[in-house]
């Protein structure tokens, strides 16, 4: 990165290789890299050994010993020439530089303030938007199962259940799959195939959720339906188990959970991969030196080192999955009911907002939907913050995963 960059700088620094740069060499000894003010110290004339206030040209400079190096400092910023014509121009440049600096700082600072304000604005507006609903039916209504906007019943329990259930199914599939795949990529597979697989999974992350939903409707749901019918017909009475009950429709919690697993997988995989890559080499070598097989090294030496990071990855994945809207809306069946069966259709917080917002019969209904959004927001912010703080402290204490991005 460095060489071409130097060519692009308008100033003449192209010849100064950093390690040999006088400033870099001198800063530790002089205590600070600031330019010395003229007359602040009785420095010997800087021009004596070098012949005039030249620009530093790094490597060619003769560097005397460290003690003698100090006097050479002023050559970096030569004292102002006693030339009367040069002085006003110099001052002019300096003052515009200062004003421009202030303006630039102000401008970028405003941008940063806008970003910081955005998070407050989101929370503020979501709270403000849901106040009418809370005023009307109180906070307790969150835990009521009845949702019927035309009759002013706004219970959120069915949606909370749907969101929790589908997210759990998704994470139950994606977490083991992601961790095992990450182990295969980092510890087992040679570099080429590992790279190909991680590229493919990254591409999966780039596919918009509405397209996965489209694929879900036309391919996944029929597959799920076939699976459900085979369970239904199975001779062991599997359909009497509560998680396999109900009609084999195809759409429902299972299909939604599968799509969520597909969406969470790239995320969990990439974070876990980073975590595993951070495990020190010595940890592996120690395992092999004790005579461990590769799997024992993974199981006893590498995974224990990474559990916390993997847990953080799981939290982040969960936070992402909670708010997934489109794909879930397209395959969950959109029926507000609480059923333990994987095959039953349901409803989630996000999908009820997506489906009913533009058809809400009253302002109160809109406010109730916004309050569902507020629940979603608070859940995701809490999970995200918890995971980030955890990963942050992990970073600090162990120097482990840098991966959570």
């Amino acid at each position: 990165m460095r060489p071409s960059f130097h060519e692009e700088i308008p100033m003449d620094v192209s010849s100064t290789e950093t390690p040999d740069h006088p400033v870099a060499g001198l800063a530790p000894h002089s205590g600070s890299a600031q330019r010395p003010r003229p007359g602040s110290a009785p420095l010997p004339s800087p021009r004596a050994p070098l012949g005039g206030p030249v620009r530093p040209s790094g490597p060619t400079d003769e560097q005397p010993g460290t003690a003698e190096a100090l006097p050479a400092l002023p050559m970096i910023a030569p004292e102002p020439e006693p030339d009367p014509d040069a002085l006003p121009e110099d001052r002019y440049h300096r003052s515009t530089g200062r004003v421009a600096d202030q303006l630039f700082r102000l401008g970028t600072g405003t941008c940063a303030a806008m970003v910081a304000a955005l998070i407050l604005v989101v929370i503020l507006f979501m709270v403000k938007g849901s106040i009418p609903a809370f005023k009307d039916h109180g906070l307790g209504a969150i835990l009521s199962p009845a949702w019927d906007p035309t009759n002013q019943k706004y219970g959120a329990l069915t949606f909370l259940f749907g969101t929790a259930y589908t997210s759990l199914i998704g994470m139950a599939i994606a977490l083991p799959l992601g961790v095992l795949t990450a182990v295969a990529l980092v510890e087992i597979l040679p570099k080429g195939p590992a790279k190909a697989i991680s590229l493919a999974v990254e591409l999966l992350a780039a596919i918009p959720s509405v397209l996965l939903g489209l694929w879900g409707i036309f391919e996944l749901v029929p597959l799920v339906r076939r699976f459900e019918i085979s369970i239904y017909k199975s001779p062991f009475g599997l359909r009497r188990l509560p998680i396999f009950g109900g009609a084999p429709l195809g759409v429902g919690f299972l299909a939604a959970g599968l799509l969520l697993a597909i969406m969470a997988l790239p995320f969990i995989l990439s974070v876990t991969r980073e975590v595993l890559l951070q495990v020190p080499r010595s940890q592996r070598e120690a395992a092999y030196a004790l005579g461990a097989t590769r799997w024992q090294a993974i199981r006893r030496f590498i995974l224990p080192y990474s559990w916390k990071g993997i847990f953080g990855a799981g939290l982040l994945g969960l936070a992402r999955v909670l708010g997934e809207t489109m794909a879930v809306t397209m395959v969950i069946g959109n029926t507000p009911q609480i059923k333990a069966s994987l095959f039953a259709s349901g409803y989630t917080l996000a999908s009820v907002i997506a489906n009913e917002f533009t058809e809400a019969p009253s302002d109160l209904a809109i406010s109730a939907l916004i309050s569902l959004g507020l629940i979603l927001l608070l859940l995701s912010v809490t999970l995200n913050a918890a995971a980030r703080i955890m990963l942050f402290y992990l970073n600090r204490s162990q120097g482990v995963p840098q991966g959570a991005k």
């Binding site: 970028t108 600072g109 087992i188 809207t325 917002f357 916004i370």
Partner: protein, 283 residues
């Protein structure tokens, strides 16, 4: 001793096989999706998809011209607003702010990037749609800009952090004002990476559907007015996908293929920029 060694070997091999199986399973969804997409989308792909407007159900043919244009307009506006602000914030974080402020802002961005897109849509609804009293393309852009902002800040900041500190010190040593150091040294050195991040964040918001439902709303006709409701590609795909008409399903798959090609193209382009840049460094 010998038996236990055998046992450990068998156990190790079988667990490794499980890991490899997981890796194979992990790539299956992508290929299943792409296979189905190409199979369904290729049949629907034609010039008419780009040049014609959608027809009512029952009439064969029609295209997605309005949705393609709408997506370009909405995403373009969001980009024009979101990227400069994002880059500005990232510059402030790396060049001017104190470390504590920087990590606080970074934390805010991390949390923001995890906020579900539908919530950002609800925010845009309250901030733009409600005061205007009607759905509009501009409200869709605002929602997308909200979604894009934290992503741009994070990628830009990562790229700026990669610029070696000695370069900035060199600038300071030459007495260059701080704003010139930020713009001509840091930003310029990080430019390819920032551009890549910007393209990727654009391709991310191009596929966003949930916030479009109640901001840009959709429109079966051609519209170029940013104050009026407008069709976007992902939202149109959603409406057609859940409709009962085979012809609309066909259009949805055609639209899906366009969207994926656009996103793949953007990803490829960003990789090319990085590759090209790296090559120019080595020569």
């Amino acid at each position: 001793m010998n038996r236990s060694h055998q046992w450990r070997k068998i156990q190790g091999r079988s667990m490794e096989a499980v890991c490899l199986l997981a890796a194979v399973l992990a790539v299956i969804p992508l290929f299943a999706f792409l296979w189905h997409l190409v199979a369904m989308g290729a049949g629907a792909f034609s010039m008419a998809l780009f040049t014609k407007l959608p027809l009512p159900p029952g009439e064969l043919g029609g295209g997605l011209r309005n949705a393609i244009f709408g997506s370009l307009l909405v995403v373009g506006t969001a980009t024009v607003v979101g990227i400069p602000i994002g880059i500005g914030a990232a510059v402030f974080m790396t060049e001017f702010a104190r470390p504590a402020t920087t990590s606080l802002l970074r934390f805010a961005c991390d949390v923001l990037s995890g906020v579900p897109s539908i919530v950002m849509g609800l925010l845009a609804y309250q901030v733009v749609v409600r005061p205007m009293h009607h759905f509009s393309a501009i409200s869709g852009s605002v929602a997308l800009a909200f979604i894009m902002l934290p992503v741009v800040v994070i990628t830009t900041q990562e790229m700026l952090r990669l610029v070696p500190h000695s370069l900035r010190e060199a600038g300071h040593a030459l007495g260059i004002p701080a704003w010139r150091i930020a713009s001509s040294i840091s930003l310029r050195a990080a430019a390819p990476g920032i551009l890549t991040g910007a393209i990727l964040s654009m391709s991310r918001i191009a596929g966003e559907t949930a916030p479009m439902l109640f901001t840009s709303f959709g429109n079966p006709f051609m519209s170029t007015d940013p104050r009026a409701p407008i069709a976007t590609l992902p939202h149109t795909i959603f409406t057609y996908a859940i409709s009962p008409y085979d012809d609309w399903h066909r259009l949805a798959w055609g639209g899906a293929l366009i969207l994926v090609l656009g996103i793949l193209g953007a990803t490829l382009l960003s990789r090319c920029i990085l590759w090209w840049h790296q090559r120019s460094l080595h020569s």
